[in-house]
Amino acid sequence: MKAAHYWHCFVGIQTREWLRFWQQRTRFASALVRPLLWLVVFAAGFRAVLGISIIPPYETYITYETYIAPGLCGMIILFNSMQGALSMVYDRELGSMRVLLMSPLPRPFLLVTKLLAMGVVSIGQVYVFLLLALLVDVEPPLWGYLAVLPALLLTSLMLGALGLLIATWIKQLENFAGVMNFVIFPMFFMSSALYPLWRMNEASPWLYWISQFNPFTHAVEAIRFSLYLEWNPMAYGITAGVAVVLALLATAGFRPQRTKILGGKPA
């Protein structure tokens, strides 16, 4: 197989994801309601309770809305990745996964391309969200919108791979409610998305340590720092490292014998 074959395949998978996005644009629009509610309603109520001191990457006192915006960007990707990965393995996308895996190109390439394609669509949503966030005065520097792109890509790859791993290995979590309770909410709440970690350390040291080990924390920090044009090598390094490890595990784990459902019911 030549490089051109890989390129055509890559473009084809991306195109399909965007076509589907366009077909289901109302669903995607409604998916934006969740983070917007957090930003507008939750943050308004919460900012009175929680004072934010000056912490990097911010140079001045910030509103609570400004603080949680990067975490909510992460949340959009988190929800989309889990939902997408789950549908890759179960029911809705099953037919198309079969078609995907019939390609003669290597499966790790196909799966990573698919995860990236899903990620790119999520990132589109993140940008729409950031634009709407301007209405509540979340105003990162203009170049921040560009600088945040690699962090968003890494985050979506990491979470997509995690979703794929979960969907292929943990049978008990085959519905979205299970994933929401046992993966999405714990990951989101035990991270720096809603409150700075030093705050959490004051309240509960063990929670602080869990959050430190939660890769989602580092993904959110990578998004936060790059959005404000600051370089955070640790957050970036951990997010990239975890993304690579999870992508390797997910593609290696996506063996047909583990997803017997792909071969059709025993018939």
């Binding site: 030549k2 037919g95 079969r98 078609v99 019939m102 063996r255 047909p256 025993p266």
Partner: protein, 240 residues
């Protein structure tokens, strides 16, 4: 393209689904894989298409082992799955282009090949319609056209007529037979419907994971001392 299955066994957990299945199909022509529901047909297709991994035995496509050179082998296979594998919201052409891209074809190439196949299937005028608007028979045709886009030499069809009315079933079956004659394609058609198989077809009868008969339909009948395939099928499997 020749297909050779060597001593394939497969189990889901403790449940054996295929037991030491071996057969060799020659290049070109229509081959029927006949078996009641639960015989192991879909599992065999899963193995042939690498959606399931071989647990025991090997499959050789045109002499190449699926274990050793899967990519080479996959390039020569076109598949129509039992369940719909089309994106209902995308147009016919978009579905074909996605498949073509997965096989490394450029958009231009994909469009030319897609139109060629659609024309042959009498569906070119519907290329820009969403698949959802097509009836069951036409959707199946689109799936076959899609499976042929990359010009495979082996076409695998897993109960392709499920859910179709009698007339559509017949038409589809005849259509695939024509493809065999026109293109020299090797076809393996899995079904539980005896009326889709002709007496002179090469027939494999699978029941409870075991291959019970393998040969030309009329020869199998002769060997079993029965009048027709339906009777043979019934006496071998208790079904039909």
């Amino acid at each position: 393209m020749t297909i050779e299955a060597r001593n394939i066994s497969f189990r889901y957990g403790d449940k054996p689904v295929l037991r030491e299945v071996s057969f060799a199909l020659t290049s070109g022509g229509f081959h029927a894989l006949l078996g009641p529901n639960g015989a192991g047909k879909s599992t065999l297709f899963g193995l042939l298409t690498r959606l399931l991994a071989l647990q025991q035995g090997d499959i050789l496509l045109a002499g190449q082992s699926l274990k050793k050179q899967p990519a080479e082998a996959m390039r020569k296979i076109g598949v129509v799955f039992q369940q719909n594998a089309l994106d209902l919201d995308l147009t016919v052409r978009q579905n074909l282009q996605y498949h073509a891209a997965l096989h490394g074809m450029s958009r231009k190439e994909a469009r030319a090949r897609g139109d060629q196949e659609l024309e042959r299937f009498g569906l070119l005028n519907r290329a820009n319609e969403a698949v959802r608007q097509l009836n069951g028979g036409h959707r199946r045709r689109v799936e076959i056209a899609r499976a042929l886009l990359h010009q495979p030499s082996l076409l695998l069809l897993d109960e392709p007529t499920v859910g179709l009315d009698v007339a559509s079933r017949k038409a589809l079956n005849q259509h695939v037979r024509n493809l065999c004659d026109e293109d020299g394609l090797t076809v393996l058609w899995a079904t539980h419907l005896i009326e889709e198989v002709r007496e002179d077809d090469r027939v494999l009868i699978l029941h409870q994971g075991q291959l019970l008969a393998d040969g030309a339909g009329n020869e199998i009948c002769e060997a079993e001392g029965t009048h027709d395939l339906a009777e043979t099928f019934h006496s071998l499997t208790g079904a039909g």
